[in-house]
């Protein structure tokens, strides 16, 4: 069967192996599958392609997409076009990393374990928290797991979440909450950030947690200080903050404001947009919650000769030990993407993370000024990071079609999620956009909106 390049067993091997097993044909090995449920004939999947044909076909499919590598993009809303240093792909292309399993056998997995230990440290430093796990599927599931942790730890069912949190993150939370019988209470937005008066009314001694996003879905910087005070006025309630990690290069970290859990997605740091995944959730907590964290944790220890080494630790939390009593069902996580993000974080270093964050901030504000000059209304007045909301005065879908004709990918249509935000567009400006592109975009958008 040498026509399949991944299958090394030859006809000669097969005969000799069957003889050792003591059967005439491999059909005997499947004789325990009852005839009534045997599949007859050949699976009707698409036909096999040679390597050159496959490359050709998939390149063709790829070319049917408009790539942000070719067309400047002002689309964000949770996924961003950022600079990814070349070293990232070089490292994650190493077969020793990407073809390995979860590092159960520590003696031959020190590389992965140490890399995760470093990732945990990088995330702690960035968020201002005491401990971080090895990754979650993405920011949305990390947020839902944080709410479940909180409910379990406080033995309370009331989850308070701001409407200014990413709508898809909120939807994922609702799905998990249904299974867990949690009550999700939504606090409305007021002038672009969470309505503090409504929040104050909602927080009580039945509250497990308050969840906000920082910067929030509209790019606005939530008043974490006031939110923290309100949250912790309740007996046990946790403050959960979902953050864009890049913004934390410039913003005071949630840990400094007293957050109990910080989650988010590492995509802005070294991970490509990839049509929404795979990205990489992160999960960081204060010391008192370490033993309730979902997923894998790597800890430092020593070997029999006293040499420093790393192991998966506190596994008594996990599904393979605790089964239905585990803190979460997560098994596979996003290890390779956590590695990608680690490499990017190390490449940026202490200086780079600040510089990139500042460039995002400055360019977004420059773009807002240019749009303002075109007579376009900037909807919210509060401080923001690299995203802001404009009023197009007409359907965003139409505006984006016109923008595409002029060579731009426009912003996110906020009307998708709420009729109150009809005709509003969320614009993201990253360090990848040049002044020239911003100027031309503002001019094009101004023309379309006026036209």
């Amino acid at each position: 069967m040498s026509e399949f390049r991944y299958l090394p067993v030859t006809e000669e091997d097969r005969q000799s192996m069957l003889k050792t097993i003591g059967v005439d044909s491999d059909e005997a090995l499947f004789s325990d599958i009852p005839e009534a449920i045997r599949f007859k004939g050949e699976l009707n999947v698409e036909k096999a392609l040679s390597e050159p044909e496959l490359l050709n076909f998939l390149s063709g499919l790829a070319k049917k997409n408009v790539s942000t590598g070719d067309v400047p993009s002002f689309l964000g809303a949770g996924v961003y076009d950022h600079y990814i240093p070349s070293v990232v792909d070089s490292v994650i292309s190493r077969g020793e990393f990407y073809t390995a399993y979860t590092p159960y056998q520590a003696e031959v997995s020190q590389g992965e374990l140490q890399a995760i230990f470093e990732f945990q440290t990088l995330v702690c430093e960035l968020t201002g928290m005491d401990a971080a796990n090895s990754s979650m599927y993405d920011g949305s599931t990390a947020l839902a797991e944080a709410a479940m942790l909180s409910s379990g730890a406080t033995r309370k069912k009331k989850i308070i979440i701001s409407e200014t949190v990413h709508p898809e993150y909120r939807q994922v939370l609702s799905t998990y909450a249904h299974g867990q019988h949690l009550d999700v209470v939504l606090i409305p937005e007021n002038k672009g950030t969470v309505d503090l008066a409504q929040l104050e009314k909602a927080v009580d001694d039945e509250t497990a947690c308050v969840i906000v996003q920082y910067p929030n879905f509209f790019g606005q910087i939530e008043p974490l200080k006031e939110i923290e005070t309100l949250t912790h006025s309740a007996k046990k309630a946790h403050l959960i903050v979902s953050s864009n990690p890049l913004a934390l290069g410039l913003l005071t970290p949630p840990g400094s404001f007293g957050a109990d859990i910080v989650v988010g997605d590492c995509q802005p740091l070294g991970i490509s947009q990839s049509f929404g995944g795979p990205h990489c959730g992160f999960f960081a907590v204060k010391k008192n919650l370490i033993r309730k964290v979902p997923g894998r944790l790597v800890g430092e220890t020593v070997d029999e000769d006293g040499r420093r080494g790393y192991v998966l630790t506190l596994q008594a939390r996990e599904q393979h030990i605790r089964r239905d009593k585990a803190t979460s069902n997560i098994c596979s996580n996003q290890a390779l993407n956590a590695l990608a993000s680690s490499v990017a974080m190390v490449a940026f270093g202490k200086k780079g993370i600040r510089e990139i964050a500042v460039q995002n901030l400055q360019k977004a504000h420059y773009a807002a000024d240019q749009l303002d000059r075109q007579g376009i209304k900037i909807v919210f007045e509060g401080p923001y990071f690299n995203e802001f909301v404009i009023d197009c005065g007409k359907p965003v879908r139409e505006v984006n079609r016109s923008l595409l004709k002029k060579g731009f990918i426009g912003g996110y249509d906020l009307g998708r999620d709420s009729s109150a935000l009809k005709n509003k567009m969320l614009i993201a400006v990253t360090e990848m956009r040049t002044r020239n592109q911003i100027d031309q975009f503002a001019e094009a958008l101004g023309g379309i909106i006026r036209g």
Binding site: I21, F275, Q334
Partner: protein, 491 residues
């Protein structure tokens, strides 16, 4: 592998070094205090390292040499399907038109991506025998939970509120009970019989009007085909429950039988096992879920559809949907790799994969069956379980033999799982290994068993040739050090 400690990247830092390059800021710069309240401007920078680009590369190359993947050698880790991860998959997954696309771009600008996903869905429907597949779940356990939430929504829609229990065999993987628990169900355990198969009498006893579902992989976690699968499905269906297929072991049966033909209602597939998505040191995976027609209304939204005009798009009009299980549309990059694999193999190739996986496993089982206790007599499927109980009597545990295998350049099998076999060693060779590799491995494992009787200390003290010896796990758990702090520097 390289010897000696590799310093942490933080220990290699020196102020002033950089490993990135950005263009100068080309817009007028405003004072930060004008843009953000002072309180919200970070005062202290994160203590991230400062290294040069070459330092960074040497660090990660050193770490990679202290790690072991399928590319390094034989990796017979049971229940994980550690097969070869084709290089062409990596090449196509990195195409600009597949990585530099945003999930919120207009449908018309991502037709290639949508077409690819639609084609993958259709192929997976055929392979699993299910009517509709969603690609949204991010991994196997995520798929399990999604499937159970679908079953829950189905019962709720029928106002069948008593169905609060999920039946799970005592051999099951830990994610099964954990996922059922996250989905809000109670767990009922069904026993295995002396042949390693579900005890039908016990199943009849536990299946009742409270049963929401049975979760069962087939072949089961012992690597044995549940021959009475139709009876099992009938018992659960007669009680009003649904039958859930954990696709972890799909590699054994492609083109031989399908979950849909066996009577299953919901299936998840691990694209990072059977369909060559690389394991990545623990992810990312992809765990699509397929269902029968009657469960289709409950699938997560959006679904990817082909429209009447031949174009592709999202279907958000799903009032009975369980909702979203993840932001965006799943782990697209892994789905691209799985699609590339299916297109490389075709229907005949996928069937040959399963035939060779089963042949390799049975051959290796036969080669080891004189030296080790083999608890079950049925032919195995893609994997099998040995018991180290004979060696245990000599004072050598399965853990010791696993560690000794490291000295011979292998990643050891899964050990102490399933829980019902004493000193279990679960071996899955996969179809991408040659007879020569299997023979060498068998010779080495037999040699280790001989060592157990002749020089037990050699096995008990293994590994001897790795960069580090056995680690103190108790100490790690008692006094957790989960991050670097300058004070925690090793000796």
């Amino acid at each position: 592998m390289a010897n000696g400690n590799q310093p942490l990247i933080f220990e290699q830092s020196k102020p002033g070094r950089v490993a990135y390059s950005l263009p100068e800021l080309d817009v007028p710069e405003k004072p930060l205090e004008e843009l953000i309240g002072t309180e919200y401007i970070r005062q202290e920078k994160p203590a991230w390292p400062e290294v040069s680009e070459l330092q960074l590369i040497r660090h990660y190359m050193a770490l990679s040499r202290r790690n072991f993947g399928v590319d390094n050698g034989f990796y017979p880790l049971g229940s994980c399907t550690m097969k070869y991860n084709p290089k062409v998959n990596e090449a196509v997954a990195r195409l600009d038109g597949l990585t530099k696309i945003h999930p919120y771009q207009d449908e018309e600008t991502v037709q290639g991506a949508l077409e690819l996903l639609y084609r993958l869905q259709t192929n997976l429907e055929e392979i699993s025998g299910m009517d509709t597949v969603t690609l949204q779940p991010a991994a196997g356990a995520h798929g399990e939970w999604t499937g159970l939430m679908i079953i829950r929504a189905f019962h709720e829609a029928n106002h069948d509120s008593k169905r609060t229990k999920v039946i799970i065999p005592d051999t099951a993987h830990g994610t099964n009970p954990a996922s059922a628990s996250v989905a809000g169900f109670e767990i009922v355990t069904v026993k295995s019989d002396k042949n390693g198969l579900i005890d039908l009498e016990d199943l009849k006893r536990v299946a009742d009007e409270h049963t929401a579902a049975l979760m069962l992989t087939n072949p089961n976690t012992l690597g044995l085909f549940e021959t009475h699968i139709q009876d099992i499905a009938n018992i659960v269906h007669a009680a009003g429950g649904k039958v859930y297929y954990d696709g972890a072991n799909m590699n054994a049966i492609m083109g031989m039988t399908r979950p849909g033909d066996m009577g299953y209602d919901v299936v998840h597939l691990n694209l990072h096992k059977t369909f060559t998505g690389p394991h990545g040191g623990g992810g990312p995976g992809s765990g699509p879920v397929g269902v029968r027609k009657e469960l289709e209304p409950f699938l997560p939204e959006p679904l990817i559809i082909r429209k009447a005009d031949g174009s592709y798009g999202f279907d958000y009009n799903r009032p009975q949907s369980i909702g979203r299980v993840k932001a965006f549309y799943g782990n697209f990059g892994i789905n691209v790799r799985a699609y590339a694999y299916i297109r490389t193999m075709g229907g005949k190739g996928l069937n040959q994969v399963s035939r060779d996986a089963v042949l390799n496993a049975n051959y290796l089982l036969k080669r080891l069956s004189d030296e080790f206790d083999t608890p079950f007599k049925q032919f195995c499927k893609h994997e099998f379980v040995l018991s180290g109980s004979r060696q245990k009597k000599l004072g050598v545990r399965t853990l010791d033999m696993a560690k000794r295998l490291l000295d011979f350049g292998y990643y050891p099998p899964t050990i102490y799982f399933p829980l019902i076999v004493d000193e279990a060693m679960m071996i899955e060779p996969t179809e991408t290994e040659s007879k020569e590799t299997l023979d060498q491995f068998a010779d080495h494992l037999i040699e280790i068993s001989k060592e157990a009787s002749e020089h037990p200390e050699v096995v008990q003290e293994a590994p001897h040739r790795t960069v580090i010896r056995r680690l103190d796990e108790t100490r790690a758990a008692r006094h957790p050090i989960l991050r670097y702090q300058p004070a925690s520097k090793g000796e």
